[in-house]
């Protein structure tokens, strides 16, 4: 299925790439531009090339610039930091964000603090790509999302692009940044197509994208959930509800102005996260919006995300675990029409990237 962010639908060049191809293109072009950029990660140089995002880079740029590493997430993160301290620009890739839990010490205690702790004597131009898994029985340990962990920590930048266009621009921006950047990818997005300009461009931090304007309710969807929210918006048309869908793109810094301005118009906010709610990105977005406009503008808000449980493996329960276009539409309907409104059953819509996924990972 195809998705193009309105911002680009005007452009002449309508070349489409998958999200994975966009990530590859960004990496490859930056490696060609700057010899200090290199890729390290488990399997980045193997026959699958991290879902294609690093495929063959070791052949094009040599084995020193794209290489496999031992299963040693903690030290490999530290190695990336150390190389960055010496002026290199490492890109590290984690097949699953679940494994990044092994890197927390280096990311939080070291990378995020070096510029500050040493008053600018050190800088850490490091990019960490973390892929959120889902579907086909990933189970509790291959399906987690921890973007809120990085949003919590000063000194880190966090981006979670949804469209191929933004994936390319965010990654280029991240690689050129002198600071540690966590790039959140979602496995369900890798095969999604969208318009991607061939030339090089950067997506600035702290700029949210209105994926689809609307007047009745503001739906903020993070990463893959932005896609599901766009589908929910279409379902909602059948209930006569016109939803505005916003993709934050950049989670830290967060563009709360765009979100708050929208809520100021609609008076309703639904935040849909690809993660758990408690102390999650959704709580931050809701809180900042309320702090920003709550005093002068009454509004209602709700959060949707993973169920407050680990992720079950069996498909029948896994389906309940994730927000779907239907559940998003249903929650939006209630938010807009109230609990007393007559029952409404959203239509069916197929999330192809989920339905077609056969993994294995």
């Amino acid at each position: 299925m195809t998705m193009s962010s309105r911002a680009d639908s005007s452009r002449a060049d309508n070349r489409t790439l998958t999200y994975g191809e966009a990530v590859f293109e960004a990496t490859r072009s930056e490696m060609a531009r700057d010899p200090s950029v290199f890729v390290m990660g488990q399997g980045v140089d193997d026959a699958r090339g991290m879902f294609g995002t690093t495929l063959g880079l070791h052949k094009e740029f040599g084995p020193e610039r794209s290489f496999d590493v031992p299963l040693a997430e903690d030290a490999m993160t530290g190695v990336g930091i150390g190389a960055a301290l010496m002026g290199m620009r490492p890109i590290q890739v984690h097949q699953r964000m679940d494994f990044v839990l092994l890197c927390m010490n280096q990311i939080v205690n070291m990378a995020s603090k070096m510029s500050y702790m040493f008053s600018g004597a050190h800088k850490v131009p490091l990019v960490i790509r973390a892929i959120i898994g889902r579907s086909w029985g990933q189970g509790a340990q291959h399906s987690q999302a921890f973007h809120s962990y990085f949003m919590h920590v000063p000194g880190l930048r966090v981006v979670a692009p949804t469209t191929p266009h933004d994936a390319k621009g965010c990654l280029i921006q991240a690689i050129r940044d002198d600071n540690p950047v966590i790039m959140i990818e979602h496995r369900m997005l890798h095969n999604v197509k969208g318009v991607v300009p061939p030339e090089s461009y950067e997506i600035p931090y702290g700029k949210a994208r209105v994926l689809s304007p609307g007047k009745d309710v503001t739906i903020v969807g993070i990463s893959h959930m932005a896609l599901e929210c766009v589908r929910a918006k279409h379902l909602l048309e059948d209930a006569g509800i016109d939803a505005e869908v916003i993709d934050p793109v950049s989670l830290s810094p967060l563009d709360i102005s765009t979100i708050a301005a929208s809520v100021e118009r609609t008076g309703r906010l639904l935040v849909v996260d690809t993660g758990w709610l408690s102390c999650g990105a959704s709580s931050e977005i809701l809180s900042e919006t309320f702090e920003r406009i709550g005093e002068r503008r009454h509004f209602v808000a709700k959060r949707l995300g993973y169920l407050p449980t680990p992720c079950p493996t069996t498909k029948i329960l896994e389906n309940l675990y994730y927000p779907s276009p239907q559940s998003i539409a249903q929650a939006t309907y209630r938010l807009v029409r109230g609990e007393s409104a007559p029952a409404w059953v959203p239509g069916k819509v197929d999330s192809a990237e989920v339905a077609e996924f056969r993994g294995p990972f």
Binding site: Q42, G43, D46, A47, L71, G137, T313, L320, F361
Partner: protein
């Protein structure tokens, strides 16, 4: 785990044949999409689980990995409940919440397996600590791949197990690869035995294609652990015939030479053990196993999916 009246070869063959056949059935069933989850097959590696577990009692505690079918079966895990688990059914060993990567059977002390590499190792060491505190006669056996030894968790776990002289056998299934990455591209220096000894843990390597020797050495190591001599490390050279994950072959990826794989398939350990048995005994073992496997699949097919509200169950114990 089964009746000891049989010869070791017979017990090994029964165990290895069961593993082989269960996984062949998984390969057969996979295209039906009834198994909606990643599967990490042990075909080619059956001998290690079978040989080690033959020396274990129900009360001995076993920790393994996502590549856990062989281990679960060798320890005497319930076959129907394993198949139902792969089907995501409510009669599965974890009611469908675990799938292939997290098999568990407390009735035989087969602990639930982890899909995050090396994370079960320190848990195994902790279990051994508990057994020692509880003055239990049981021991712990901890399985992992050679890739897991890359992790700091392995270092910390080996050191602590040795420091406390814990009743644990570490079994490394060295199949040369972590996904498509060869051990020589990840492991520096003289190898795992030297590393193990540097923790003060006696280590031994057993080559592939010597299933009976493996059985004998595993028995010796386990006996030493039982005598309270502290941890032992066993490096078992073995080989994965199929793709790292999924039911298929992976020759197209060319990360390993075809000849290497062919030679391994040639020297099939199952065949080696089978040939040690009189044909009629082998046949009767196979017949019994075939029935168990067929029954298990029928059980899985007949089982139902969990009810929706089960999604909320067991977040907390009690």
């Amino acid at each position: 785990m089964e009746e000891r009246t049989n010869s070791p070869a017979a017990r090994l063959y029964r165990s290895m044949y069961l593993i082989r056949r269960v996984e062949e059935e998984i390969i057969r069933l996979y295209p039906t999409d009834k198994i909606k989850s990643p599967v990490h097959l042990s075909i080619g590696q059956e001998a290690v689980s079978a040989a080690v577990c033959d020396h274990l009692e129900k009360s001995d505690v076993l920790f393994g990995t996502y590549r856990g079918h062989a281990l679960y079966l060798a320890k005497g895990g319930d076959v129907p409940r394993m198949m139902a688990e792969l089907y995501g059914k409510v009669d599965g060993c974890a009611r469908g919440k675990a799938g292939s990567m997290h098999l568990v059977d407390p009735s035989v002390n087969m602990m639930g397996t982890s899909a995050v590499v090396a994370t079960g190792i320190s848990n195994a060491v902790g279990a051994a600590l508990a057994l020692k505190m509880q003055k239990s006669k049981a021991i712990v056996v901890c399985f992992f791949g050679e890739g897991a030894t890359d992790e700091g968790a392995w270092h910390e776990s080996m050191n602590f197990a040795s420091l406390k002289k814990l009743p644990i056998l570490f079994v490394c299934e060295n199949n040369f690869y972590a996904i498509y990455s060869h051990v020589k591209d990840r492991l520096a220096g003289p190898g795992l035995q030297a590393r193990s000894k540097a923790y003060g843990i006696p280590a031994e390597l057993v080559e592939d294609h010597e299933p009976m020797k493996l059985h004998e050495r595993a028995g010796a190591a386990i006996a030493a652990v039982r005598r309270g001599e502290g941890p032992r490390f066993l490096e078992c050279m073995t080989y994965r015939w199929r793709d790292h994950v999924g039911p298929g072959e992976d020759r197209i990826h060319k990360y390993r030479p075809d000849e290497e794989l062919n030679a391994k398939i040639e020297g099939d350990n199952l065949k080696i053990v089978g040939e040690l048995l009189p044909a009629d005994q082998r046949k009767s073992i196979e017949a019994a196993v075939e029935k168990r496997v067929a029954d298990a699949i029928a059980f899985a097919e007949a089982s139902t999916f969990p009810e929706d509200q089960e999604v909320y169950d067991h977040v907390f114990a009690g």
